[in-house]
C-alpha cells in the first residue's frame, strides 16, 4: 500500500521547479502578513463603529460587513481586478489580492471583535461608569483588554484560514503556491507529485500555527478563571466563518 503510494511520486525535475514552489510559498506568506496587517486594525475599527453611538457609522459598518460576508471572496477579487479597471482604477495582481482579502477578512474579524466586546459582562461597564470614566477610557482600560483575551484564539484561527485562502488570489494571476503549481504541472504533467508537495507545504506552515493557537487558547483561559471567559469564548466561536 505504502509502496504503491510512493511509486505514484515522480520526482523527475523536482530540482528545477522546487525553487519556484518556495517562491510561491513566500508569496503566500507575504499575502497573509500584508492582509493581517490591514485586516486586524480595520476589523477592530469596524467593530467599534458597529457598537458605537453614531447611527451613521453603525449603518455604514453593518452595510459593509453584510455585503462582504454575503458575497463570495472570489467575486470580490474579480471585481477589484477585472471590473475596477473599467473605471480607471488599476492594481497589479498582488495589490488586488491584498485589497480583496483585506476587505473580506476585515468583515469577518469585525464580527469576532464585536462578539468579544459584547461578551464582557455589563457589570464591567457599570463599574467603569460609576468611577466616572468616559466611554473612551472605559473601552481602552476596561473593555478592550478583556475582549482581547477572548478574541486572540479565534483571531489566530482566522490567520491560519487566511493563509489557506490566499490560494484564491491565484485567480487574479498572483504567483502564489497554487498558481505556481498549476504552471509547473501543466508543463510536466506530474499533477500528483506537484500538488501533494504543495499540500505538504501548506500543512508545514499551518499545523504548527494551529498548535500555537491551541496553546494560546489554554493560556488565555487560565489567565482569567472567571466565568467571563468560557462563556465569551463560546460566543466568539459562534461566529466562525461558514
Amino acid at each position: 500500500m505504502l509502496t504503491t503510494f510512493i511509486n505514484l511520486f515522480n520526482f523527475e525535475g523536482i530540482g528545477d521547479y522546487f525553487p519556484d514552489l518556495m517562491r510561491g510559498a513566500a508569496i503566500s506568506l507575504q499575502l497573509t502578513f500584508c492582509v493581517m496587517l490591514i485586516a486586524l486594525p480595520l476589523g477592530l475599527l469596524l467593530a467599534l463603529a458597529k457598537i458605537g453611538r453614531s447611527r451613521i457609522l453603525r449603518i455604514m459598518a453593518s452595510f459593509y460587513i453584510e455585503v462582504v460576508r454575503g458575497t463570495p471572496c472570489l467575486l470580490q477579487l474579480f471585481y477589484i481586478y477585472f471590473v475596477l479597471p473599467a473605471f480607471g482604477i488599476r492594481f497589479d495582481p498582488f495589490m488586488a489580492g491584498v485589497i480583496g482579502l483585506s476587505i473580506n477578512y476585515s468583515a469577518y474579524l469585525a464580527e469576532v471583535y464585536r462578539a468579544g466586546i459584547v461578551a464582557i459582562p455589563h457589570g464591567q461597564v457599570e463599574a467603569a461608569k460609576a468611577l466616572g470614566m468616559s466611554r473612551r477610557k472605559m473601552l481602552r482600560l476596561i473593555i478592550l483588554p478583556q475582549a482581547i483575551r477572548v478574541v486572540v484564539p479565534p483571531l489566530g484561527n482566522y490567520c491560519i484560514s487566511l493563509f489557506k485562502d490566499t490560494s484564491l488570489v491565484s485567480i487574479v494571476t498572483v504567483r502564489e503556491l497554487i498558481f505556481t503549481g498549476q504552471i509547473i504541472s501543466s508543463t510536466n504533467f506530474q499533477y500528483f507529485t506537484v500538488f501533494t508537495i504543495i499540500g505538504a507545504i501548506y500543512l508545514f506552515f499551518s499545523y504548527p500555527a494551529a498548535l500555537f493557537v491551541r496553546y494560546l487558547e489554554k493560556r488565555m483561559a487560565i489567565g482569567a478563571r472567571r466565568p467571563v471567559v468560557p462563556i465569551a469564548a463560546d460566543a466568539v466561536e459562534g461566529t466562525t466563518k461558514p
Partner: protein, 262 residues
Amino acid sequence: MIRLERINKHFGAHHVLKDVSLTVDKAEVVCVIGPSGSGKSTMLRCINNMEEIGSGTITIDGQPVYRYEKDGKLVIDSEKQVEAIRAKVGMVFQSFNLFPHLTVTENITVAPIHVLGRSRGEATDIALGLLEKVGLAMKAQAYPHELSGGQQQRVAIARALAMRPKAILFDEVTSALDPELVGEVLRVMRALADEGMTMVVVTHEMGFARDVSDRVVFMADGKIVESGKPHELFSAPQQERTRDFLRSVLERNREMGAAASQ
C-alpha cells in the same frame, strides 16, 4: 448633600418610582429597605445617573444635576458633567464588578490615575493605605479571581473610596455573599459610617440598618412608604405595609436562627 424631589421613572409601562422624595445630609447614613421590586435599587441608581429619571429633580451638593429645569427651560448635563458627578459619588455593587484583568491594586488605582489625573505613585500609596484599612494589605498583588466574595467586595469598597467620594451608594452589597462572609463587609461599612462618610445603603441586612443607620427608609411599590430613626421604624412602624414587611423578615430571621441553633 443628596436631594431627590418627586422622582418618577418608568420601565416601559411599569411605573417603578412614584413621586419619590428623599434628602440625605452630609455624613448621614440612610438605609433603604423593602421587598424586592419595590424600586429601591432603581432609586439608588438614579442618584448617579446609572438610570435616567423620567421627571423630578436630583440635587447633589446644592447643584441640580442630570436633567432639570432652569428659568423654565430644560437643562441636560453633558456627558462630561455626568462623569464628574460620578467621580464624586461612589458606588458599590451587589456583584462586586472588579476588573478581572487587573490586580487588586490596579483595580483601585485605575480611576484615580485616568479620571482624576493622579500620579501612579500617589494613587498606589492611597490604594495601599485603603487596602490596609479594609484588611487586605496582603492581597495587593492578587487578582480578583483569587479572592473570596467578601474580599472582593472589600476591594470594591476600597476602589470607591480611592476616588475620595463625597458619598457612596451601596446596592445590596452583601446579597451575593455566602452568609459567613457578610460580617467582614458590614464591619468595613460600619467603620466608614463611624468616620462620617455619607452613605445610602440599599440592604436586606436589618441588623445593619438598625444599628448603623441614622435613618431608615422603607419602600414598597415604587413609593417611600415610611421613614424614620431606626429604633422608631423598627419598633413602632406607622404603616400597615411596613409592619407586614418587618413581620415577614423577622419570621424568616427567626426560622434561620432556629435552624442554626439545631
